[in-house]
């Protein structure tokens, strides 16, 4: 499945269209063709080819008339299936929402349209974002484009696969505990999770409200930054969206590592070394490369990393247990076909029939953590641990500009790998949940794989609203690393 020339990124596509070197229609057809060619990877849940081509032709017509084009005019972009687009289906990967159509646009969708982007369709995900591999959704698993027998990572696996195969220059995902960065790392693309509040969550099917953000998956750092610039900014419909102007990437942020202080938390890379030595080697090599390019590596102590996963899962599931209470089969979504039930039974039966196992388990854990007798020891305590972690990370910014660590402790695992208990998969989030708990921006950038072809991601975290610093660090990695090959396919 290799290609002669890799598909163009966000900026190159937008530029080519603006200059008339390529039509938006041609760019869109290329993206749709790539999606069709790799349909077996399960990236898309639904393509809106007609709608996409219509938008593309409108962009071309506008250009022909000499009208000003939006910053993303003609750039094909896909949406994770938990981001509402008016009149599209919206399933969040759940049987619960089979047949549901959103009567409104998410704020990010509206902003993509305003920027001229071509919306390709809905991409695959774990049910309600609850998973690390894109295997729990109703549409079936997404497959890793580098080895179709391996997972794509999750929960925004469809986004990562779509970008990796060139079915769109970028994709919007959501990141609650690493759901943008993890699949980006496992599929070899860039994943950017903005600061909490940087992007409106209005129109995004909620999993864990205090943790999640819409993020961008793209082929390169500047592509992700350009999309973030288009979707970010204050939103009158979201009380958690920061009252700040949109993110504005600055070319002056530079691309070189010189002077960049990179905090390296002690023990993090070793944790990956124990799980997958190739990951540790690749991260070590990248950090050494950045140091050689002029960055300073600063050792940083961040304790309680294991407790971060526990805190994350308690908080996320507690919030989810209430966020998913609206799915009761009364106003929309799945209602059991059984008759003669009372209201209470109808609600419970409808939920049980249509929520998958993992979603049910997480609702149970979250309900438990909030219930009488357990609230203080679990939900409240998780909030205290969260505060402690946030305080520790805040202290690190005295000594460094970014924190660096692996995105995932391992490379993509096999789809048929069985995990003895659900928490074994949760451990994959060990490096990513920190940014969500603290509400900080984080970026996963592909680095060269040391052993086989399976991609590895290096993650940076930055202080709140310092996405520009992430962009700078990411550019430095790209400069050191050079261009990446296209996915090789691999055994199926």
């Amino acid at each position: 499945m290799s290609r002669e020339t890799p598909p163009m990124g966000v900026l190159a596509t937008a530029q080519a269209i603006a200059r008339g070197e390529q039509s938006a229609e041609a760019a869109t057809r290329a993206a749709l063709d790539a999606a069709d060619a790799h349909a077996d990877l399960g990236a898309f849940v639904e393509l809106d080819a007609d709608g996409a081509l219509e938008t593309a032709r409108a962009v071309d017509a506008a250009r022909a008339r000499g009208e000003a084009l939006g910053p993303l005019a003609g750039v094909p972009i896909s949406l994770k299936d938990n981001i509402a687009a008016r009149d599209w289906a919206l399933s969040a990967g759940s049987r619960m929402l089979a047949g549901y159509r959103s009567p409104f646009d998410a704020t990010v969708t509206e902003r993509l349209r305003a920027a001229g982007a071509v919306l390709l369709g809905r991409v695959n995900m774990d049910e309600f974002g609850m998973g690390s591999a894109t295997t729990t959704g109703v549409a079936g698993p997404a497959r890793n484009p580098w080895d179709a027998e391996r997972v794509a990572g999750g929960s925004s696996g469809g986004s990562a696969v779509a970008v990796a195969i060139g079915a769109g220059a970028a994709s919007l995902g959501t990141d609650t505990g690493g759901s943008v960065r993890l699949p980006a790392a496992l599929c070899g693309v860039v994943g950017l999770k903005p600061t909490y509040g940087r992007v409106s969550r209005y129109g995004v099917v909620a999993y864990a409200s205090s943790l999640e953000q819409v993020g961008v998956l793209a082929r390169d750092v500047d592509g992700a930054a350009a999309v973030l610039a288009a979707i970010s900014g204050a939103c009158p419909l979201d009380a958690t969206a920061a009252p700040l102007p949109p993110f504005s990437p600055r070319s002056s942020d530079g691309a070189d590592a010189a002077g960049l202080r990179i905090g390296v938390p002690e023990g993090f890379v070793d944790k990956a070394r124990a799980a997958d030595p190739a990951v540790a080697e690749a991260i070590d090599a990248a950090l050494a490369g950045l140091r050689d390019a002029g960055a300073t590596l600063v050792p940083v102590r961040l304790e309680e990393l294991d407790a971060a996963v526990a805190a994350y899962y308690v908080i996320a599931t507690a919030e989810a247990s209430t966020n998913l209470s609206r799915y009761d089969g009364v106003r929309y979504g799945h209602r059991t076909s059984e008759t003669g039930l009372g209201l209470g039974e109808l609600i419970a039966r409808s939920r049980t029939e249509s929520f998958g196992d993992e979603v049910q388990r997480r609702i149970l854990l979250g309900t438990f953590a909030l219930s009488a007798g357990y609230h203080d020891a679990f939900y409240a305590r998780a909030g205290q641990v969260r505060r402690k972690l946030a305080n520790a990370v805040a202290g690190a910014w005295d000594d460094c500009d970014v924190l660096a660590m692996p995105t995932s402790p391992v490379r993509a695992w096999r789809l048929d790998q069985r995990f003895d208990d659900p928490t074994a998969v949760y451990a994959m989030d060990v490096f990513t949940v920190l940014a969500n708990l603290c509400g900080l921006p984080a970026l996963s950038v592909p680095v060269r794989s040391a052993g086989d072809a399976m991609p590895i991601g290096l993650q940076f975290m930055a202080p709140a609203f310092e996405e520009a610093t992430l962009v700078r660090a990411g550019r430095a990695v790209q400069a050191w690393r050079g261009a990446l090959p296209m996915p090789t396919g691999g055994p199926r």
Binding site: L90, A106, T240, R326, L343
Partner: protein, 485 residues
């Protein structure tokens, strides 16, 4: 209560805040044209929707707290209260939990003329649920979400009331306070205020509280009084028979005149409260609170003193004025100007005008939009340029016309013209009357002064009721006394 038992009552009052839009969505709060016609995606709990708090609701809730002497917390913390119900669209209600906006206040009220105090434990802000309609379709319940998300405050008192009458009086006063604060329209019929009462009984002298029941659906003052009274008797009998009282929620059935246990509420509730992660804590600055406190209007207890004691208005007129803050809004400055005008105006509105309206089965409220025009009529009458007869005609003409429109009354007043207050026009008339009734003049002069009214009546009739009564009286007096010489 009879015998050696004492009633212990605390109130939980829900009041709808007088906002244009709902608490978290832009859906209008005004009466909709049909079921589910005032529903945004958020009101229906559609996936992806988020709440954004209405600043006016926060302001009104804080004013309610300030009017009741509460402390106002420096941060607004909203919480999710989880339970499943068909008319609860998100599966949780956004409310407040352990950090209510207002706490520790008191309600002052009168019971049989005696001042009383009820301690207020807390006032919190929350959204209403939708409505379950049970009689729209056979065998089914139909959910209407027009009310879902309407802003409410819940006012929780301590169990400080000791009789059904006190409960009703406290609720009545609370209603007036909220109306005068502009927080709630106070309409019990439309459900803008709903009262629940926590009722228990205990032998007199016992200091601990016994098991209580929560009475729901007390939608009138009468319902509060009767339900509390019934429930107290029921509990007393239950204790006396040895059966005891089970803590439960009970509905007041006004038709049957009894309370009954609510079905479907038997689960011990575990609401799993948590801070709403969609609503970060919102600062409530002290300076802002101080500004709100400074702009509080006078409240009913103070108004009662001003209107009753200082201005000397009749007790029933005071009650009528208090029952409609919009009346006071227009009349306030006029009433306060001087006591005589105040009494005259109250008598005009609640006596003369109300009488005319009553004959047409109209309430005073129906003509409120024209209140200023009515006040102008009163002023003309009081100044003497409108006779009693003319006043009656003006009021009848207005009430028979488009009475809610000021222009109707203005026209009626203009059509009435003015009393004849020109002495040169009245004097010949009086001279003629005296000349025509020598016998009566004689009797008057020999001390039968009651005949003064006889002459006044003749003069009024002769002027078709348009004579300026004061002027006529002075001229008549002079003429009768003068002819004595």
């Amino acid at each position: 209560m009879k015998g050696d038992w004492e009633i212990v009552v605390g109130l939980e009052v829900h009041a709808q805040l007088a906002t244009r839009s709902k608490l978290f969505s832009v859906a209008p709060t005004a009466e909709a044209e049909g079921p589910n016609h005032a529903v945004t995606p958020l009101c229906a709990g559609l996936p992806g929707t988020l709440p954004r708090i209405n600043g006016e609701a926060l302001r009104l809730a804080a004013r309610a707290g300030l009017g009741l002497g509460c402390q106002i917390r420096d941060t607004l913390w909203m919480a999710r209260k989880s339970y499943f119900y068909a008319d609860l669209p998100k599966g949780y209600q956004i409310s407040q939990h352990d950090r209510p906006l207002c706490h520790d206040g008191e309600l002052h009220f009168l019971l049989e003329g005696q001042p009383q105090v009820l301690e207020i434990e807390r006032i919190h802000l929350e959204e209403d649920a939708g409505k379950s309609v049970h009689d729209a379709l056979p065998g089914a319940t139909v959910v209407d979400l027009n009310r879902a998300g309407v802003p409410l405050i819940e006012i929780v008192s301590r169990p400080g009331l000791r009789s059904a009458e006190a409960a009703a009086a406290a609720f009545a006063e609370l209603r007036l306070v909220l109306m005068h604060l502009g927080v709630c329209d106070g309409s019990l019929e439309s459900g803008s205020m709903r009262c629940d009462a926590n009722v228990s009984v205990r032998p007199r002298g016992e200091t601990t509280l016994r098991t209580r029941c929560e009475l729901k659906n007390l939608n009138s003052l009468r319902a509060v009084r009767e339900a509390v009274s019934f429930e107290a008797q029921r509990q007393r009998i239950a204790w006396e028979s040895g059966e005891g009282v089970v803590q439960q929620t009970r509905l007041w059935d006004a038709d049957a005149g009894r309370t009954r246990a609510m079905r479907g509420k038997e689960d011990a509730a575990d609401y799993r409260y948590m801070p709403d992660p969609d609503l970060p804590p919102l600062p409530v600055p002290k300076a802002w609170v101080a500004g709100q406190r400074e702009t509080l209007p006078p409240l009913p207890m103070e108004l009662r003193r001003t209107l009753g004691e200082t201005l000397g208005l009749a007790e029933d007129h005071v009650a009528l004025l208090l029952d409609d803050p919009s009346l006071l809004g227009v009349l306030g400055p006029r009433l306060l100007a001087d006591a005589e005008t105040a009494r005259s105006l109250a008598g005009f509105l609640f006596g003369t005008l109300a009488g005319v309206l009553r004959k047409r089965e109209l309430e005073l409220g129906a003509v409120l939009p024209a209140l200023e025009a009515l006040v102008a009529i009163h002023d003309r009458w009081r100044a003497g340029s409108l006779s009693n007869k003319m006043l009656g005609e003006v009021l009848q003409a207005g009430a028979d016309g488009a009475y809610a429109i000021p222009a109707t009354w203005e026209t009626a007043l203009a059509d009435a013209g003015s009393t004849v207050s020109d002495a040169s026009a009245l004097q010949p008339l009086i001279d003629g009357l005296i000349a025509a009734h020598p016998a009566e003049v004689e009797q008057y002069r020999s001390g039968k002064t009651k005949l003064f009214g006889f002459f006044m009546g003749l003069a009024m009739r002769a002027t078709a009721g348009k004579a300026d009564a004061a002027m006529l009286r002075a001229l008549m007096q002079r003429a009768l006394d003068a002819s004595a010489d």
